[in-house]
Amino acid sequence: MAKRIDVSGMSAYYGGFKAIDDISLTVEPRTVTAFIGPSGCGKSTVLRTLNRMHEVIPGARVEGKVLLDDVDLYGQGIDPVAVRRTVGMVFQRPNPFPTMSIYENVAAGLRLNGLKHKGDMDDLVEHSLRGANLWEEVKDRLRKPGAGLSGGQQQRLCIARAIAVSPDVLLMDEPCSALDPISTLAIEDLIAQLKAEYTIVIVTHNMQQAARVSDRTAFFNIAGTGQPGKLIEIDDTARIFANPSQRATEDYITGRFG
């Protein structure tokens, strides 16, 4: 079930360095929200706080609240591992597991979690690969290594892997930045389809991509190096690109900096 994300008063740190300062935003279920902003402004950091991947980095910590349908992900008794099963993630570089086949990569999320739905597994793998628009291309070589696919196919494999565990939210950190234009289009189409079932947050440096795929757009910025990143504004994508309320947003979108 796609879920709603409510971030309120959230700051994120790397050791003593404050990377994100006091951010609040809301992401509605079954929408695509794009994070844009200049390099180093903390888009990835914010994204990674949404499934508690941030704290994987030694010394990294988060203050404030991130609510997933009213449950605080940082509340007491919440297991980050369980959070990540509910909030999936796709990375900038495709990272299929090199020791596993295509099939095993898709099944990995369940198998690694120790779940064995023997009969269901084949169906699930097919369903996930279809969901990632990859099935037709790989159905004859499911037992081949996942690392043998093209970059775009690998990225769709990673998306299939992420949706196979039925997350409620899908986070994507520049999922197309390592891909060619054709593969990028394939992923964008896929995002449009996945929107029907998932809440999606995508980080992108590509303004056209943000305009094409997202319903809402959040613009982040930093005052300078060493300063924490801040959320400047979040609004409907059409509004952000046509008529942003902040000057900085307009400057960034029109390419005056960043």
Binding site: A82, R93, L112
Partner: protein
């Protein structure tokens, strides 16, 4: 951008915590039925709750890793504490200063002994080894890295690596059977030139088993390791530096002096110091070549001398209470000496660091992990970084000569002489090593065969031909196998602890301990098992006792190589797994370890090959038998290195033939393991699939 808090047009109101904020399981189940489900869609059960389920597995696994690390710490602590307690007893019984006296009669009444006597011999033999071996090794490394054609260089490098795996008992065998009979002539020449220095006085004894002979054997033994590391260092010289030198009009030798040598200096020095450490701890080859004396000696060409390690190996079984304690005390002194030397090597290697181009753990996402053949432990992690100083070139006399047809004759001559010396060094390095291999193969082949492999020495007198090494081969395989069985799980868990969990005092101490264990002389490992397992606990000599000693030697090898391999696993893979909601312990076991597995297995195989050739520790604890004993847990058991040692020191030709055949067998087993390990590494190399 303004400094004030930016306006955020869409901020959710304060939403209070839900009624059931700690557990989502109930609403989740309801809602997932409403979800559009495709065929086989995975329905999450109560496990989807956001509350903790993974913690128990994580806790157990982290506990196991931490426990292994603690075990290592306790083990080393126990070794040192126990050995010290044994030594103290003998030290208090000593009637002279236990460090300074040049005498070794601990079991006399009154007890008279001092480590100085054996320490002196240890230092002298090792210094001889260094003086002879280091220049040759560095020259050979220069030849392989700078002069030999690329193809040939690769093959040569490979051969040098394999030679480093030849066990020391084989060097000892070569030394006593081949080298010592020729030492009379060599010593006469040396004394004719240097005889005016008292230490090079020579009384003309035929076949002198002298400190000089032992030094030569040690020099040959440290050649491969020093040459291998130096070659690596020289190969790392940045192309820009070399081209810059050439662009200044340097000859090849000038280029080497300007670019290669300055760049490699600290690495090479540390390799030499490391070789020195090896020589200090070497036991069996010295014990075989040297005829031991218990008095102070200064005539290094004449028979006699002693070293700490050889003294322990030969004397321990015959020593009484105080004698054993004294030997243990000398072992501790050796331990401290090698420790200091190894740290010196490391310090030299580190000192030269300007730019830290070492790998930062876990951040090199581009490097796929699937196991490039990493050396089990390359002591020189980081190398010097020297930019060329053009002024050096101009200070070089004759460097600035301007003629387009040829360089100045003096420079050309120097270049030629240098090339000649480097090639000569290479030949000098190759000749003895080739001689060893040729003799092992030709002499060994004579006695080698079905009869040798399938028969023991039971009821065969040493003076008679026939018999075989079956009992010894079996024993060595069982002992090494058992050692691996214990060392691998513990070692891999410790490596996992260091890479995946380690931080704080425990990780720091374990890293330190592994460093220390890396340089632990094998005789000290044997000494520990002997005095604890056999003398203190009262167990009898057995193959298993040998396994325990070998396990202590194997642990650091496994930890180091596994650690390197785990560090190579891209961080992105761990994150991909975490992002699927996989707990850390499963991520480590199912994603990280499988990715690193080929490399880990390669490291383990190289480690097994290494311990199989260890003689000193088994000499002390497996007992002696000429019969087959299949049970490593009870009764004396044969061992191949011990077999070679024993046969080589018999005064009968049939026994010596058996020693060669044994050496051939041992080298074959070790080489097969090495080749298999490297093949595996090559086969699983990323990008080959």
């Amino acid at each position: 951008m303004s400094g004030e808090r930016p306006a955020v047009t869409d901020t959710s109101g304060p939403s209070g915590p839900g009624p059931d904020r700690a557990d989502l399981s109930a609403p989740e189940q309801v809602s997932s039925t409403a979800r559009p489900s495709g065929p086989g869609r995975f329905r999450r059960g109560p496990a989807a709750a956001l509350t903790g389920r993974s913690r128990r597995g994580d806790g157990l696994f982290a506990g196991g890793a931490r426990g292994s690390a603690l075990f290592l710490l306790v083990l080393m602590g126990a070794i040192v504490a126990f050995l010290i307690s044994q030594a103290i007893h003998a030290i208090s019984a000593d009637s002279v200063n236990f460090l300074a006296a040049f005498e070794w009669n601990p079991d006399d009444d009154p007890s008279v002994w001092g480590v100085a006597l054996v320490a002196w011999g240890t230092l002298v033999t090792s210094l001889f080894a260094l003086a002879i071996g280091a220049p040759i090794a560095v020259g050979a490394a220069l030849f392989i890295s700078q002069y030999a054609p690329r193809r040939l260089a690769q093959v040569l490098g490979y051969v040098v690596d394999l030679l480093a795996a030849v066990p020391s008992v084989v060097y000892g065998l070569w030394g006593i059977i081949f080298l010592v009979p020729h030492m009379g002539g060599v010593s006469r020449i040396v004394s004719a030139v240097l005889g005016w220095i008292p230490i090079f006085h020579y009384d003309g004894a035929p076949a002198p088993r002298s400190v000089f002979a032992a030094g030569i054997v040690l020099a040959i033994m440290i050649l491969p390791i020093v040459a291998a590391i130096s070659r690596e260092v020289f190969l790392q010289t940045p192309r820009e530096n070399m081209e810059a030198a050439y662009a200044l009009g340097a000859t090849k030798w000038e280029m080497i002096r300007l670019a290669v040598l300055p760049y490699g200096r600290s690495g090479v020095i540390s390799a030499i110091v490391l070789g020195f450490g090896r020589a200090l701890g070497e036991t069996i080859a010295v014990a075989m070549v040297l005829s031991q004396t218990g008095t102070f000696f200064t005539h290094f060409l004449e028979p006699g001398g002693n070293t700490i390690a050889a003294n322990i190996a030969i004397q321990f079984k015959n020593a009484f209470d105080v004698g054993r304690g004294a030997l243990i005390a000398s072992g501790l002194v050796l331990f401290v000496m090698t420790l200091l030397v190894n740290y010196l090597a490391r310090w030299i290697a580190r000192r030269g660091v300007i730019s830290d181009d070492g790998m930062a753990a876990g951040t090199d996402a581009d490097q796929s992990a699937a196991g490039a053949a990493a050396p089990v432990a390359s002591p020189v992690d980081v190398y010097h970084h020297h930019a060329i100083n053009p002024r050096d070139a101009h200070q070089d006399p004759g460097f600035a000569t301007r003629s387009l047809s040829s360089v100045a004759p003096r420079r050309r001559l120097t270049n030629l002489a240098a090339s000649g010396s480097v090639a000569a060094a290479f030949l000098l390095a190759v000749l003895p090593l080739a001689s060893i291999l040729v003799l092992v193969i030709s002499n060994g082949a004579r006695g080698f065969g079905g009869n040798f492999l399938y028969h023991s020495m039971r009821n065969i007198a040493e003076s008679d031909p026939g018999g075989g090494a079956y009992h010894a081969i079996l024993g060595t395989l069982e002992q090494a196998g058992l050692a691996a069985l214990i060392a691998v799980p513990i070692g891999v868990m410790v490596a996992i602890y260091l890479v995946e969990y380690g931080s704080g005092w425990l990780a720091r101490s374990v890293t330190f301990i592994v460093d220390v264990m890396m340089g632990l002389p094998s005789i000290v490992a044997g000494l520990f098992i002997l005095s604890l397992w056999i003398l203190a606990f009262g167990f009898k000599d057995s193959g298993f006792a040998g396994s325990l000693a070998l396990m202590i030697l194997m642990l650091p090898l496994v930890i180091r190589s596994s650690e390197e391999m785990l560090k190579l696993v891209p961080h992105a893979l761990r994150e991909a797994s975490y992002a699927l909601g996989v707990p850390k312990w499963r991520t480590v076991l199912r994603v990280v370890v499988p990715t690193a597995l080929p490399g880990i297995v390669t490291g383990v195989m190289l480690g097994v090959a290494r311990i199989m050739g260890e003689t000193a520790p088994v000499l002390l604890v497996v007992g002696f038998t000429s019969s087959i004993n299949q049970n490593p847990f009870s009764g004396a058991q044969g061992s191949l290195p011990f077999f070679i040692y024993n046969e080589a020191t018999q005064p009968y030709q049939p026994a010596i033939d058996r020693a060669w055949a044994g050496a051939l067998t041992l080298i074959l087993i070790i080489m097969i393991l090495n080749l298999a390990a490297r093949l595996l590494a090559w086969w699983k190399k990323p990008g080959r699939a």
